[in-house]
Symmetry: D2
Subunit: 135 residues, 4 copies
């Protein structure tokens, strides 16, 4: 999310330091996008029947991440408990999807790329939960 | 979600009793849709500046509910911990959005309609969390 | 979308007759939801390799319908050309997904349910495009 | 969408040259994300009543772009007519949102950032429509 820093810099309700929010929103869009693409790469595999669980997990993780991305990138009048609950769900989805994709990372390079992005997103969600700069 | 019962009835991976899942998916789509419409009704109000917090909360609740609806309505190879985490976030978002809309329910009939739907969705998420028929 | 009529009835920017909009928004949520569920039912089928094209088409149709549902159900300051362009894309996605699911309707009852919903949504989008009550 | 090139490079169904698809998917996620953030920056402005049309347009453009991003980034068994119809809707939404944000670009720097991203996304959609490398 290249332009989000520039947009946050001119946002009327920006917190003193939006860097953790920016990193988390960027990671959520990146991970959500790669989970969509990884589910599709698994679907296009000659052995799709072996990848059903991975497809399902990637579809779920994509939905959680892309909803979280929208929520985290809003700076006006956030409800801290709502944002926290969604960040916890997102970190959990990323943890589970990373573990699933890592199972196939040896055979499927796209799962390796996706797993790496899931780990980064899990970490960005946890950093924001602990930094709590959105409150 | 009129047709979802008919679809689940013919799903190759349906659990013995998908009724709690069906009720939860239906409530999530309904609540997500009404939150989109309520945020828009607030935006079109002559006193929009007084409704900024309600708009933000409805937008977030819509995103959480519509992501949860997708996840809950998948019956193939679910990750129970992922589904649970998202249902907890959804129940929390609905609880917070219901409380916000109830603040305006006297003056804005659309907030009354939205709050009622949020309460029903919160309850459907909690019923599924406790019934755990998706596992 | 049971409550959307009640919500529109109290919307400050409602048009004289929102019935075509209400029908279209309801059909878009219903069809989007059933396409998510049908893609998952295909994914859980013992012959998933034969259903790859159907899964892909349902996933796309779900995304188009659920985006269209949000857009159509906003009544405040619409851009008629934007709404029309998205409704045309939605009618096309529904037409294509209905045709794909009808191919499997004999063997997969969930595809029959999904195809019926796609046809209804295509029709609701076209009715709104021609009625143009959102402008 | 940093990792999408690496993911496409290992996708079993990648076309000979996925570069236009990669550019379009990246632009759609970027523009969708910035439209979410711009609608929120407008909502948090002291003069929100003057920005209602801009908020509405950004919300619609975000929904169109984020749905398009998912669809474009799937490479397995695409329906060319479905993808084309959605890309045309996306180019149109971006054109309209760019024009709306440019109206406020002098007073609101976030609208300037958002408009630039909308123009880039419109162009990426049109390049893919004309290059047609997804077919």
């Amino acid at each position: 999310m290249e332009g989000i820093g520039a947009l946050f810099a001119t946002h009327p309700q920006r917190p003193p330091d939006p860097s953790l929010i920016e990193a988390c929103a960027t990671a959520c869009y990146e991970c959500g996008g790669l989970c969509v693409a990884c589910s599709d790469a698994c679907l296009g595999d000659g052995h799709v029947a072996d990848l059903v669980c991975c497809i399902r997990t990637c579809l779920d993780c994509a939905d959680v991440c892309l909803a979280s991305a929208r929520i985290v990138s809003r700076l006006t009048e956030p409800s801290p408990m709502l944002v926290e609950a969604q960040l916890m769900a997102c970190a959990e989805a990323c943890r589970i999807c990373a573990a699933e994709c890592e199972n196939h990372a040896g055979m499927h390079a796209h799962c390796r790329v996706c797993a790496k992005s899931c780990r980064a997103c899990e970490q960005a969600c946890r950093a924001l939960l602990h930094g709590a700069s959105f409150a």
